[in-house]
Amino acid sequence: MAVICAAPLMAEGVATALDGVADTRLLPTDLEDLSALLRTLAPDAIVVDRECRAAHVHADQHGVPLFVVPVEAEGGDVPSPERLRALVVGSLLAVQVRA
Protein backbone atom coordinates (compact mmCIF):
# COMPACT_ATOMS: atom_id res chain seq x y z
CA MET A 1 0.00 0.00 0.00
CA ALA A 2 1.28 3.48 -0.87
CA VAL A 3 0.82 6.33 1.59
CA ILE A 4 1.46 9.63 -0.16
CA CYS A 5 1.45 12.49 2.30
CA ALA A 6 2.62 16.09 2.37
CA ALA A 7 2.69 15.84 6.17
CA PRO A 8 5.15 13.16 7.32
CA LEU A 9 3.38 12.91 10.69
CA MET A 10 0.11 12.11 8.90
CA ALA A 11 1.89 9.39 6.93
CA GLU A 12 3.18 8.02 10.20
CA GLY A 13 -0.33 8.04 11.66
CA VAL A 14 -1.71 6.19 8.65
CA ALA A 15 1.09 3.64 8.78
CA THR A 16 0.47 3.09 12.50
CA ALA A 17 -3.27 2.71 11.94
CA LEU A 18 -2.69 0.12 9.23
CA ASP A 19 -0.03 -1.78 11.14
CA GLY A 20 -0.73 -5.51 10.77
CA VAL A 21 -3.21 -4.90 7.98
CA ALA A 22 -0.99 -3.70 5.14
CA ASP A 23 2.65 -3.15 4.29
CA THR A 24 2.90 0.59 3.84
CA ARG A 25 5.35 2.53 1.72
CA LEU A 26 5.50 6.18 2.78
CA LEU A 27 6.06 8.58 -0.10
CA PRO A 28 6.28 12.37 -0.08
CA THR A 29 3.91 14.21 -2.43
CA ASP A 30 6.71 16.18 -4.07
CA LEU A 31 8.58 13.18 -5.49
CA GLU A 32 9.76 13.98 -8.99
CA ASP A 33 8.33 10.97 -10.81
CA LEU A 34 5.62 9.70 -8.54
CA SER A 35 3.68 8.14 -11.42
CA ALA A 36 6.57 5.89 -12.42
CA LEU A 37 7.19 4.93 -8.81
CA LEU A 38 3.55 3.97 -8.35
CA ARG A 39 3.67 1.82 -11.49
CA THR A 40 6.74 0.07 -10.09
CA LEU A 41 5.31 -0.40 -6.61
CA ALA A 42 1.89 -1.48 -7.92
CA PRO A 43 0.14 -0.80 -4.59
CA ASP A 44 -3.12 -2.55 -3.67
CA ALA A 45 -4.45 0.73 -2.33
CA ILE A 46 -3.34 4.34 -2.01
CA VAL A 47 -3.82 6.83 0.82
CA VAL A 48 -3.23 10.54 0.24
CA ASP A 49 -3.53 13.51 2.59
CA ARG A 50 -4.21 16.09 -0.13
CA GLU A 51 -5.00 16.34 -3.82
CA CYS A 52 -2.42 14.30 -5.69
CA ARG A 53 -2.91 14.01 -9.43
CA ALA A 54 -0.45 11.15 -9.92
CA ALA A 55 -2.23 9.10 -7.26
CA HIS A 56 -5.67 9.79 -8.74
CA VAL A 57 -4.54 8.88 -12.26
CA HIS A 58 -2.89 5.68 -11.06
CA ALA A 59 -5.94 4.69 -9.01
CA ASP A 60 -8.25 5.32 -11.98
CA GLN A 61 -6.09 3.48 -14.49
CA HIS A 62 -5.43 0.43 -12.32
CA GLY A 63 -8.67 0.15 -10.39
CA VAL A 64 -6.87 0.72 -7.11
CA PRO A 65 -8.85 2.05 -4.11
CA LEU A 66 -7.84 5.59 -3.15
CA PHE A 67 -8.45 7.05 0.30
CA VAL A 68 -8.16 10.74 1.12
CA VAL A 69 -7.37 11.64 4.72
CA PRO A 70 -6.84 15.41 5.03
CA VAL A 71 -4.52 16.66 7.78
CA GLU A 72 -7.04 19.32 8.72
CA ALA A 73 -10.71 18.50 9.01
CA GLU A 74 -11.98 21.99 8.06
CA GLY A 75 -15.54 21.02 8.84
CA GLY A 76 -15.33 17.83 6.81
CA ASP A 77 -15.10 14.26 7.92
CA VAL A 78 -11.69 12.64 8.33
CA PRO A 79 -11.88 8.91 9.04
CA SER A 80 -10.72 7.78 12.45
CA PRO A 81 -7.81 5.30 12.57
CA GLU A 82 -10.28 2.47 13.21
CA ARG A 83 -12.50 3.52 10.32
CA LEU A 84 -9.57 3.85 7.91
CA ARG A 85 -8.41 0.39 8.95
CA ALA A 86 -11.86 -1.05 8.31
CA LEU A 87 -12.17 0.75 4.97
CA VAL A 88 -8.79 -0.49 3.78
CA VAL A 89 -9.44 -4.08 4.87
CA GLY A 90 -12.85 -3.98 3.20
CA SER A 91 -11.52 -2.59 -0.06
CA LEU A 92 -8.63 -5.05 -0.20
CA LEU A 93 -11.02 -7.94 0.35
CA ALA A 94 -13.30 -6.60 -2.37
CA VAL A 95 -10.37 -6.42 -4.79
CA GLN A 96 -9.43 -10.03 -3.95
CA VAL A 97 -13.02 -11.21 -4.45
CA ARG A 98 -13.20 -9.47 -7.84
CA ALA A 99 -9.90 -11.07 -8.85
Partner: protein
Protein backbone atom coordinates in the same frame (compact mmCIF):
# COMPACT_ATOMS: atom_id res chain seq x y z
CA UNK B 1 11.67 12.62 33.95
CA UNK B 2 9.81 12.47 30.62
CA UNK B 3 8.12 15.51 29.19
CA UNK B 4 4.35 15.22 29.06
CA UNK B 5 2.98 16.46 25.75
CA UNK B 6 -0.73 16.81 25.10
CA UNK B 7 -1.63 16.63 21.41
CA UNK B 8 -4.92 18.45 20.82
CA UNK B 9 -6.17 17.85 17.30
CA UNK B 10 -9.51 16.75 15.82
CA UNK B 11 -7.87 14.34 13.35
CA UNK B 12 -7.21 11.03 15.09
CA UNK B 13 -4.84 9.79 12.40
CA UNK B 14 -2.67 12.86 12.81
CA UNK B 15 -2.64 12.52 16.61
CA UNK B 16 -1.61 8.92 16.14
CA UNK B 17 1.29 9.97 13.93
CA UNK B 18 2.49 12.58 16.41
CA UNK B 19 2.27 10.09 19.26
CA UNK B 20 4.23 7.48 17.30
CA UNK B 21 6.92 10.02 16.38
CA UNK B 22 7.35 11.40 19.91
CA UNK B 23 7.38 8.00 21.55
CA UNK B 24 9.98 6.82 19.05
CA UNK B 25 12.10 9.90 19.76
CA UNK B 26 12.03 9.06 23.48
CA UNK B 27 11.71 11.30 26.50
CA UNK B 28 8.05 12.09 25.91
CA UNK B 29 4.79 10.87 27.38
CA UNK B 30 1.88 11.67 25.08
CA UNK B 31 -1.81 12.16 25.74
CA UNK B 32 -4.48 13.22 23.27
CA UNK B 33 -7.53 15.45 22.96
CA UNK B 34 -9.89 15.75 20.00
CA UNK B 35 -11.69 18.94 20.96
CA UNK B 36 -11.68 21.75 23.50
CA UNK B 37 -13.66 19.81 26.11
CA UNK B 38 -11.19 16.94 26.01
CA UNK B 39 -8.32 19.42 26.02
CA UNK B 40 -9.34 20.85 29.37
CA UNK B 41 -10.19 17.44 30.80
CA UNK B 42 -6.72 16.18 29.86
CA UNK B 43 -5.04 19.28 31.23
CA UNK B 44 -6.82 18.82 34.57
CA UNK B 45 -6.06 15.11 34.68
CA UNK B 46 -2.55 14.88 33.22
CA UNK B 47 -1.01 18.30 33.91
CA UNK B 48 1.02 18.26 30.66
CA UNK B 49 4.22 20.28 30.29
CA UNK B 50 3.44 21.27 26.71
CA UNK B 51 0.38 21.32 24.49
CA UNK B 52 0.59 20.94 20.73
CA UNK B 53 -2.62 22.69 19.78
CA UNK B 54 -4.28 22.58 16.38
CA UNK B 55 -5.22 26.07 15.17
CA UNK B 56 -8.70 24.82 14.21
CA UNK B 57 -9.44 22.77 17.31
CA UNK B 58 -13.23 22.40 17.61
CA UNK B 59 -15.40 24.10 18.45
CA UNK B 60 -13.87 27.59 18.57
CA UNK B 61 -10.25 27.17 17.49
CA UNK B 62 -6.90 27.51 19.20
CA UNK B 63 -7.02 31.23 19.92
CA UNK B 64 -10.17 30.88 22.06
CA UNK B 65 -8.76 27.82 23.82
CA UNK B 66 -5.44 29.54 24.55
CA UNK B 67 -7.32 32.47 26.04
CA UNK B 68 -9.00 30.12 28.50
CA UNK B 69 -5.72 28.35 29.26
CA UNK B 70 -3.88 31.54 30.05
CA UNK B 71 -6.55 32.61 32.48
CA UNK B 72 -6.07 29.32 34.32
CA UNK B 73 -2.24 29.45 34.33
CA UNK B 74 -2.12 26.35 32.14
CA UNK B 75 0.74 24.61 30.37
CA UNK B 76 2.84 26.18 27.64
CA UNK B 77 1.13 25.97 24.27
CA UNK B 78 2.64 25.56 20.84
CA UNK B 79 0.01 26.12 18.16
CA UNK B 80 0.24 24.62 14.72
CA UNK B 81 -1.59 24.34 11.43
CA UNK B 82 -0.92 23.07 7.93
CA UNK B 83 -0.61 26.35 6.02
CA UNK B 84 -1.36 29.22 8.41
CA UNK B 85 -1.24 32.82 7.25
CA UNK B 86 0.55 35.56 9.14
CA UNK B 87 -2.62 36.88 10.78
CA UNK B 88 -3.46 33.45 12.20
CA UNK B 89 0.04 32.96 13.60
CA UNK B 90 0.07 36.44 15.09
CA UNK B 91 -3.37 35.88 16.65
CA UNK B 92 -2.23 32.65 18.31
CA UNK B 93 0.98 34.23 19.60
CA UNK B 94 -0.91 37.28 20.84
CA UNK B 95 -3.35 35.02 22.66
CA UNK B 96 -0.49 33.40 24.54
CA UNK B 97 1.02 30.58 22.46
CA UNK B 98 4.77 30.41 23.00
CA UNK B 99 5.43 29.13 19.50
CA UNK B 100 3.98 28.13 16.17
CA UNK B 101 4.89 25.15 14.00
CA UNK B 102 3.45 23.72 10.81
CA UNK B 103 1.94 20.27 10.48
CA UNK B 104 3.97 19.34 7.44
CA UNK B 105 7.19 19.37 9.47
CA UNK B 106 9.25 16.24 9.81
CA UNK B 107 9.13 14.42 13.13
CA UNK B 108 12.72 15.41 13.98
CA UNK B 109 11.90 19.08 13.47
CA UNK B 110 8.85 18.86 15.71
CA UNK B 111 10.92 17.15 18.41
CA UNK B 112 13.53 19.90 18.07
CA UNK B 113 10.75 22.47 18.45
CA UNK B 114 9.54 20.83 21.65
CA UNK B 115 13.07 20.82 23.07
CA UNK B 116 13.38 24.49 22.16
CA UNK B 117 10.20 25.18 24.12
CA UNK B 118 11.48 23.20 27.09
CA UNK B 119 14.58 25.40 27.09
CA UNK B 120 12.30 28.40 27.56
CA UNK B 121 12.56 29.62 23.98
CA UNK B 122 9.90 30.09 21.32
CA UNK B 123 9.83 27.56 18.49
CA UNK B 124 8.57 29.22 15.34
CA UNK B 125 9.00 27.75 11.91
CA UNK B 126 11.27 29.98 9.88
CA UNK B 127 8.94 29.98 6.86
CA UNK B 128 6.23 31.63 8.97
CA UNK B 129 8.30 34.63 10.02
CA UNK B 130 7.78 36.75 6.91
CA UNK B 131 4.00 36.36 7.20
CA UNK B 132 4.07 37.17 10.91
CA UNK B 133 6.14 40.30 10.37
CA UNK B 134 3.77 41.38 7.58
CA UNK B 135 0.74 40.79 9.81
CA UNK B 136 2.36 42.74 12.64
CA UNK B 137 3.17 45.67 10.37
CA UNK B 138 -0.38 45.67 8.97
CA UNK B 139 -1.75 45.69 12.49
CA UNK B 140 0.46 48.62 13.47
CA UNK B 141 -0.49 50.47 10.29
CA UNK B 142 -4.20 49.88 10.84
CA UNK B 143 -3.90 51.17 14.39
CA UNK B 144 -1.99 54.24 13.28
CA UNK B 145 -4.35 54.98 10.40
CA UNK B 146 -7.33 54.25 12.62
CA UNK B 147 -6.18 56.94 15.07
CA UNK B 148 -6.09 59.45 12.24
CA UNK B 149 -9.38 58.35 10.68
CA UNK B 150 -11.19 58.75 13.97
CA UNK B 151 -10.62 62.53 13.71
CA UNK B 152 -12.88 62.69 10.67
CA UNK B 153 -16.52 63.70 10.96
CA UNK B 154 -19.17 61.26 9.81
CA UNK B 155 -19.72 63.33 6.64
CA UNK B 156 -16.00 63.40 5.89
CA UNK B 157 -15.92 59.63 6.34
CA UNK B 158 -18.80 59.30 3.93
CA UNK B 159 -16.92 61.40 1.38
CA UNK B 160 -13.69 59.47 1.94
CA UNK B 161 -15.53 56.17 1.61
CA UNK B 162 -16.79 57.24 -1.80
CA UNK B 163 -13.31 58.46 -2.79
CA UNK B 164 -11.96 55.04 -1.79
CA UNK B 165 -14.45 53.49 -4.19
CA UNK B 166 -13.06 55.67 -6.98
CA UNK B 167 -15.99 58.11 -7.09
CA UNK B 168 -15.32 61.56 -8.59
CA UNK B 169 -16.21 64.79 -6.79
CA UNK B 170 -19.12 65.53 -9.13
CA UNK B 171 -20.67 62.11 -8.48
CA UNK B 172 -20.04 62.37 -4.75
CA UNK B 173 -21.92 65.65 -4.77
CA UNK B 174 -24.87 64.02 -6.51
CA UNK B 175 -24.88 60.99 -4.22
CA UNK B 176 -24.72 63.05 -1.03
CA UNK B 177 -26.97 65.79 -2.37
CA UNK B 178 -24.44 68.55 -1.71
CA UNK B 179 -22.60 70.97 -3.97
CA UNK B 180 -19.32 70.06 -5.65
CA UNK B 181 -17.74 73.02 -3.86
CA UNK B 182 -18.73 71.46 -0.50
CA UNK B 183 -17.23 68.15 -1.57
CA UNK B 184 -13.94 69.87 -2.38
CA UNK B 185 -13.97 71.53 1.04
CA UNK B 186 -14.54 68.13 2.68
CA UNK B 187 -11.66 66.68 0.69
CA UNK B 188 -9.34 69.49 1.82
CA UNK B 189 -10.34 68.90 5.43
CA UNK B 190 -9.80 65.15 5.04
CA UNK B 191 -6.30 65.62 3.62
CA UNK B 192 -5.46 68.08 6.39
CA UNK B 193 -6.77 65.86 9.22
CA UNK B 194 -5.11 62.73 7.84
CA UNK B 195 -1.95 64.71 7.07
CA UNK B 196 -1.61 63.18 3.63
CA UNK B 197 -0.75 64.83 0.29
CA UNK B 198 -3.40 63.35 -1.99
CA UNK B 199 -6.83 61.74 -2.16
CA UNK B 200 -5.20 58.51 -3.37
CA UNK B 201 -3.23 58.22 -0.14
CA UNK B 202 -6.34 59.10 1.86
CA UNK B 203 -8.26 56.39 0.01
CA UNK B 204 -5.47 53.91 0.80
CA UNK B 205 -5.74 54.79 4.50
CA UNK B 206 -9.51 54.34 4.39
CA UNK B 207 -9.19 50.90 2.80
CA UNK B 208 -6.47 49.92 5.31
CA UNK B 209 -8.71 50.81 8.22
CA UNK B 210 -12.09 49.75 6.90
CA UNK B 211 -11.20 47.01 4.46
CA UNK B 212 -11.61 46.78 0.71
CA UNK B 213 -15.39 46.98 0.92
CA UNK B 214 -15.11 50.26 2.75
CA UNK B 215 -17.33 49.27 5.64
CA UNK B 216 -16.38 51.01 8.89
CA UNK B 217 -15.35 48.49 11.54
CA UNK B 218 -15.75 50.79 14.53
CA UNK B 219 -18.00 53.53 15.76
CA UNK B 220 -16.88 56.94 14.60
CA UNK B 221 -17.18 60.09 16.64
CA UNK B 222 -18.84 62.97 14.87
Amino acid sequence: MPTHVLVADPVGLFRMGVRAALERAGGFVVSEAGDETELFEEIDRERPDLVLLDLHLPPFGAVAAIGRLEAGQGPRVIAWALEPDGDQVLAALSAGAIGFLTKDMKAESVVRGLHTALEGQSPIRRSLLTGVIGAFQNLERRDRYGERAIKLSSRELEVLGLIALGTRNRDIAVQLDISEFTVKRHVQNILHKLNVPSRDVAAHIYRSVFGAEGTPQFAVTV
